[in-house]
Symmetry: C2
Subunit: 420 residues, 2 copies
């Protein structure tokens, strides 16, 4: 089977899965819904056909195991398990590659081993997580957090928009909510985790590269801030007497841009801005903004956040506008395993491609898996850097490269364990 | 009757009218509603008690006429009519002074003449307009436009939020919609119009003055503009590759501020700003802004608007963000009558107060009356410059000054016509 045929099959399978949606005219596949049951059934069939033994855990993660060779070629007893995977759920009005592409590229790599009758000196487990996006229960990484033993019982009390508690959804999806803790994977035999994912950004496209090796998953700070000035009549209050909250907010937006431009690797975004009272003939009395700051280095991110807060305070002082600043939460940066990432980079260069190292600005199941074992991630170029959007698009040639690089990567891991 | 007693009566009457509302817990009195009928009845009673003959036109404006003296003291036959007035409708969740104060200060001035048995060498007509705010039918100056002969038949087709056409509302309010054109006031005998109104701005308060003389009602330009960049993932798109629509919008908001600071008398306001898609983790792809520009001089206002448009285009070019700019409408500046305003200023200084000349940033019934006759306006200080808000507040001492100044002003007009 040529790599091109495998790549075409991956894209066709992405199309097949995309047909399973909660909504007729767009792709929305949230945790525990009937289309999730369908795609689990379909993917389980493909896994079995690729020589895997398939099981499901209680949250609904699909786990396909491809056993190791009886003994390694070097005569050493085969041992350990290497993990591959990504997720099968989607956001609302999603594209078809965010999640499924990683599952299906890994599946293709296993299929190619199976077609050659080849086994590695360790088992492979292909993880198709049931919920990474967290759309239904606002609980990102739900599937991989349980697998990684990070589940917290209070999450079970979450209720979806239709009033259905998570515990009931787990039962309806075929699992036992009281048995979740027992599904935690013991880390003892794990050799690592590798996830393939679309980049969701424009860097690979700009560099004209099919794939890239992720250096880290950036840490993130989320804040909300409000400037409170004084509303007033747009016609009657002279400019010199105004305390315009939107003026303060606008200065802050430009300060955020400047901070990001001046700090290497920092991304900082004001994605929401609401103005009150919000009438064309009323001076804004209040402006509320969101702020999202990310950087591969946690200390750099924290320092940038602190400088922006000082800047917001300065703006407030100079304009006689009060500031309220609220930290909503933060996540630490996760560094990919240096050794596994080096092997992934070598697999890329051995395949004839420059191995660009780039941070991931978005979170991935790898964040949870990093609590269990070393992780590596391979990004695949996506058109225009677009994701979380029906316009998500990947090229077949790039998928072929991803399959090839992942295959070589597994061979390199195997070689280190005594296989050629 | 002392001025203080008159002023207290004006404030008590404002309170009485404020009790007539469409809503139980806040003041909302739109055109043609039962509370409008009630306040018309109440005010008509006060007008009659002040020696006026009262009629109502078809739209529902209340017109109280205080006849001239038979002959002037100088033996010259009395002639002509001087107009006073303001409006009795309110915005939603209104204060109690925007409109009613002007009607009731004028009423107090007539009452004081009546109490002394004094008549002027011209008739006074006190106009209590039925709709200035235009809340119900989105037709500002509805009452005064009909009085001024500016009514357009298509306005009758307007429908309120409950589906009631204006024609039906006019009938329910006691008028004949087909007779509106006949209610246009002939300008032949008119000597002028004077309106008392709360400032709706903070200038008099800042200058520590009870009243001010309006120089003009500013012209206004209203625009809406949109910046379209590219949405993207807040974590994955490097800052150097972004086309952030909110960045462009923020630069424009600061440019509007700078333009207003740099152009004497200009007020310019961005009161609305909406961001799309508006998620905290998505770079804004589009930002839509309102722009409101006002200045007493129409050419200055037009030039400022043109400069701001150029500025927006420059911002778009430098950020690779496209601009759409739409002019929603404009109104010309109305200059108050120089001679009447000079008499009003003299009335203020004769009463012991500096006669600050200031433009009106808000529109008033005087805009329509200026089509019929020369107009003058007296502003009364209001607390914090607040209007269109239940917190609207005026001081009794300031109301006393307004009554005194308006009385002196009428005496000065009378003196010019041969009365001492």
């Amino acid at each position: 089977m040529s790599i091109e045929v495998s790549a075409r099959a991956v894209l066709e399978r992405c199309d097949i899965l995309a047909a399973h949606s909660e909504e007729p005219d767009r792709l929305t596949r949230r945790y525990g819904t009937p289309p999730m049951t369908h795609v689990n059934d379909v993917v389980a069939g493909w896994m079995r056909a690729a020589g895997m033994v398939v099981r499901r855990d209680n949250i609904g993660n699909l786990i396909g195991r491809y056993e190791a060779s009886e003994t390694s070629a070097a005569g050493v007893g085969a041992s350990g398990t290497f993990l591959l995977g990504s997720h099968l759920d989607t956001v609302r009005d999603a594209g078809r590659y965010d999640g499924p592409l990683g599952v299906l590229v890994a599946l293709a790599a296993v299929e190619r081993l199976h077609a050659r009758g080849q086994r590695l000196p360790f088992a492979l487990e292909l993880l198709a997580f049931a919920d990474e996006e967290g759309v239904r229960y606002h609980s990102g990484y739900l599937g991989s957090s349980i697998y990684a033993g990070r589940f917290r019982a209070e999450t079970l009390r979450a209720v979806d928009d239709d009033g259905i508690p998570l515990a009931a959804a787990i039962r309806a999806f075929g699992g036992d909510p009281d048995a979740l803790a027992g599904d935690a994977r013991a880390p003892g035999d794990l050799l690592g985790y590798c996830e393939v994912h679309i980049e969701q950004g424009p860097v690979l496209e700009a560099r004209d590269l099919p794939v890239g090796v992720v250096s880290s998953i950036q840490g993130q700070s989320r804040m909300t801030l409000g400037f409170t000035g004084e509303a007033g009549h747009a016609g009657t209050v002279p400019v010199s007497m105004r305390r315009d909250a939107l003026g303060a907010a606008s200065e802050f937006v430009l300060a955020v841009e400047a901070e990001a431009r001046g700090t290497g690797g920092l991304v900082a975004t004001v994605g929401q801005l609401a103005v009150e009272p919000g009438a064309s003939n009323v001076i804004p009395g209040r402006a509320i903004l969101s702020l999202d700051v990310r950087h591969p280095d946690d200390a750099t991110r924290a320092a940038a956040g602190a400088r922006l807060r000082e800047h917001a305070q300065e703006i407030g002082r100079s304009r006689q506008v009060t500031l309220d600043w609220r930290e909503l939460g933060q996540s630490r940066s996760v560094t990919c395993d240096t050794h596994l990432s080096a092997l992934l980079a070598r697999a890329a260069t051995d395949s004839g491609y420059a191995a660009l190292s780039l941070p991931s600005g978005a979170g991935h199941d790898g964040v949870m898996l990093s609590r269990l074992t070393g992780i590596a991630m391979l990004f695949v170029r996506c058109k225009g850097g677009v994701s979380h959007n029906p316009a998500e698009s990947v090229r077949q040639e790039d998928v072929a490269v991803a399959i090839e690089v992942l295959g070589r990567f597994l061979s390199l891991v195997a070689a280190e364990r005594g296989e050629p």
